[in-house]
Symmetry: C2
Subunit: 348 residues, 2 copies
C-alpha cells in the first residue's frame, strides 16, 4: 500500500515578523521537511542585517547566508518564494499594508493576526480591500492560529457537525498560567493589584481579545442569530503566596483572569464562551458542549498548549493557503485542517 | 448584532432509501427548518405506494399526499427537488447506478454508503465514473456519515491540524452495545458462539468495515506513508449471564467484538485504529491521540451516538453538497462540517 507519491517539492517560505511567535514559527519552518526558509523581514533595528541562522540559534547549513531584512522586497531579492508566514501584530488596520505587500509580491499569506480570524465581523472594509488585493494577485490569504482560529471556534463548529437542532454551544478553555511564559503571565495580570486589573478589563486593554471573534464565527457557521452580547471578566486573587515567572505573588494579588462571553437571542443564551487563565488552575482543559441531538461533550485532556499549537496551526495552514482559490479566507471557507504534509506542491 | 439575514429559502429533499437509517433521516429532514421532504424512493414492495407521512408516523400536514415510489423519476414527477439523501447499501458497486440516476436528475447527492467515504482507495474506477457523472451534471456528490466520515477519520485529521512532526495517530472508539438497537447487537455477534464469530471475522463478513477506509483517509490527509496493514479482531465473551436486546446471553457466549487495525511504515506503527463494541462496555468514549508537537488527546465523553450522529452528519452535509464545485467529494475536499443552518440557499 502506498498512499502518496514520491514527487515531493519544497515550499519556499518568507518569515514576516520575528517576535516570539515569529521566531518559533521560523524555527518550525526550518525543521519541517517540505518547507524551506528563504528570507525574513522585521522592523527591529537590533535584528535587521543579522544572520537568520544565528538569530534562530540554528546551524548555518541550508540558510545560505540569509539575513533579516527591513523590507519584503529586500528579503525576496533574487529568491523564489511561495508563501509568507505573517506574524506581526493583532490589529487588522495595521497589517493590511503588510499583507497587501506580500500578495503583490506573489506570495500566499498565512497570518497570525487575531483580527483576521473573522475580519468582516465588525469592520468589513479592510477585509474587502485584502480580498480584492488577493484576487488581483491570484493568491489566497488566511488568518489563523490556535485561538481564535481553532480551539474555541473551529473545534466546536466541527463538533456541531454531528448534531442537529442545536440549542446552545458552550466552549470552555482552562489554562494553567503557571505553565506558560512570563509574557503570558504578565498578559493575564499575574502580580498586579486587583483594582488595576478590573480597570484594565473594563477598558478592554487586558485579557484575551478573540472571544467575540470566535463566538461570531460559531454563530455564522451554524446560522445562530444573536441579538445581545454580554461580556464579563474578573481577576482571580491569590489565597496564599505563590511563585510565578514574574516573581513571588503575595496573597490578595492577581494570579490570572476569568473571562466570559454570553451571546443571546430573545433573552436566551445560545453561545457561551468561558476562559480561565490562572496560575495553578486545576484540570487544565479545552471543552466544547453541543446541546443538540445528540448532545456532545468534547474534551482535550490537559488542554491544547497555546504556543506550540499556534505554531502548528500556522504551519499546517500553508498547503491550504497554496491551494485555495484566490481571495481572503477564513476557517469556514477552507477544507478541514490537518497536520502539514510535504506531499502538496506549491502553486505554479 | 445580527449574524445572518432573513432571506431564508427551503431546500427540497428526496429521500432515496427507506431502511432504518433512511426512515430516521427522512424524519430528521421533515423536522429541520429549511428542509422540505418532497419525495421518497424505495425498493420494498411493502413500502411502495404508501403515504410517506403515514410510513414515518408524522402528521400529514406539509406532505401533500406524497407516496413512496419505486423509481426516482416517479418520485420527482412534477416536483422541484435539490438534493438526494441517499441511504441504501454499503457497497460502492451497487450504488453507482443509483447515484448516477440522482445526478442526471439534477440533484446534489449526500450518501451514507460507507465505501463512498474514500472511494478511490481500493477501486478507483467506480469513483471516477461518479466524478465524471457529477461534473457532467454540474452537481456535487459526497459520501459521509459518522463512521467512516467523522469520528474515526475527520476528527483525528482536524486534531492533527494543531500539531507538527506527527509520529503516530491512535483512534479509539468504545461503544456500549447494550445501548444500541437489536440489529446493531446482532451485527457485533451478541449471543453467538465464539467459534462462529471468529470464523466470520476471519472471512470479514462480520464487524465494522470502515476501519481501513478511515485509516487511509487519515494517511492521505496527513501525508503518512504506509507499507503494511495488520487487521485483527476477536469476540468478547460473557463472563456471567447477560441481558441483551436479542434475549439472554449465556456465560461463554459472545457479547461483542474488539477490532484493531495497525498501519505501519518500515515496521513502525504510524496509525492505529481500535474499536470495541461490547454489551456493557465500561466508559464508552471516542478518543484521538496525536503523537506530535504538541501531543494531543481528544476525548468525546460518553462517545458519539452512532445512529443519531449518523443522521446529523448526513443532514449537515446538505449545504456543503449544494455549494461545492461539481464532482465527487470526500471530507478532505470540502469545507469543515457544521450543524445544519437554514440560511444557505439551494443551487440555482
Amino acid at each position: 500500500l502506498k498512499t502518496s507519491g514520491s514527487d515531493r517539492s519544497v515550499v519556499n517560505v518568507i518569515q514576516y515578523g520575528l517576535g516570539s511567535i515569529g521566531m518559533a514559527c521560523a524555527r518550525a519552518v526550518a525543521a519541517t521537511p517540505g518547507l524551506r526558509l528563504v528570507g525574513a523581514v522585521d522592523v527591529d533595528p537590533e535584528k535587521i542585517g543579522r544572520s537568520l541562522a544565528r538569530l534562530l540559534d540554528l546551524p548555518p547549513k541550508g540558510f545560505r547566508g540569509i539575513a533579516v531584512r527591513a523590507s519584503l522586497a529586500e528579503a525576496m531579492a533574487g529568491r523564489d518564494a511561495h508563501v509568507a508566514m505573517h506574524t506581526t501584530v493583532s490589529s487588522l488596520g495595521a497589517v493590511v499594508p503588510q499583507i497587501q505587500d506580500c500578495l503583490r509580491a506573489g506570495l500566499a499569506v498565512v497570518s497570525s493576526t487575531e483580527e483576521l480570524a473573522f475580519p468582516s465581523r465588525t469592520d468589513p472594509e479592510p477585509a474587502r480591500r485584502l480580498d480584492v488585493a488577493a484576487k488581483r494577485a491570484r493568491r489566497a490569504a488566511i488568518g489563523t492560529g490556535v485561538n481564535p482560529g481553532f480551539i474555541m471556534d473551529l473545534i466546536p463548529i466541527v463538533a456541531s457537525g454531528a448534531s442537529l437542532g442545536v440549542r446552545k454551544i458552550l466552549v470552555r478553555r482552562v489554562l494553567d498560567a503557571g505553565r506558560r511564559r512570563a509574557p503570558f503571565q504578565k498578559k493575564v495580570g499575574v502580580g498586579m493589584a486587583p483594582a488595576d486589573v478590573r480597570r484594565r478589563l473594563a477598558e478592554e486593554s487586558m485579557g484575551h481579545v478573540g472571544l467575540l471573534d470566535s463566538a461570531l464565527l460559531i454563530a455564522a457557521a451554524c446560522g445562530i442569530e444573536i441579538d445581545e452580547v454580554r461580556k464579563s471578566g474578573a481577576p482571580v486573587l491569590a489565597t496564599r503566596p505563590m511563585r510565578s515567572a514574574l516573581g513571588r505573588v503575595a496573597r490578595g494579588k492577581v494570579i490570572g483572569l476569568r473571562q466570559n462571553l454570553s451571546c443571546r437571542r430573545k433573552g436566551r443564551e445560545v453561545i457561551r464562551m468561558e476562559m480561565v487563565m490562572v496560575l495553578g488552575a486545576k484540570d487544565p482543559r479545552d471543552e466544547s458542549f453541543i446541546d443538540g441531538s445528540p448532545r456532545l461533550h468534547l474534551r482535550w485532556e490537559g488542554g491544547v498548549h497555546g504556543d506550540a499549537a499556534t505554531i502548528a496551526t500556522l504551519i499546517n495552514a500553508i498547503p491550504r493557503a497554496l491551494t485555495a482559490p484566490p481571495g481572503l479566507h477564513n476557517i469556514l471557507t477552507l477544507p478541514i485542517p490537518r497536520t502539514f504534509s510535504p506531499l502538496l506542491s506549491p502553486q505554479p
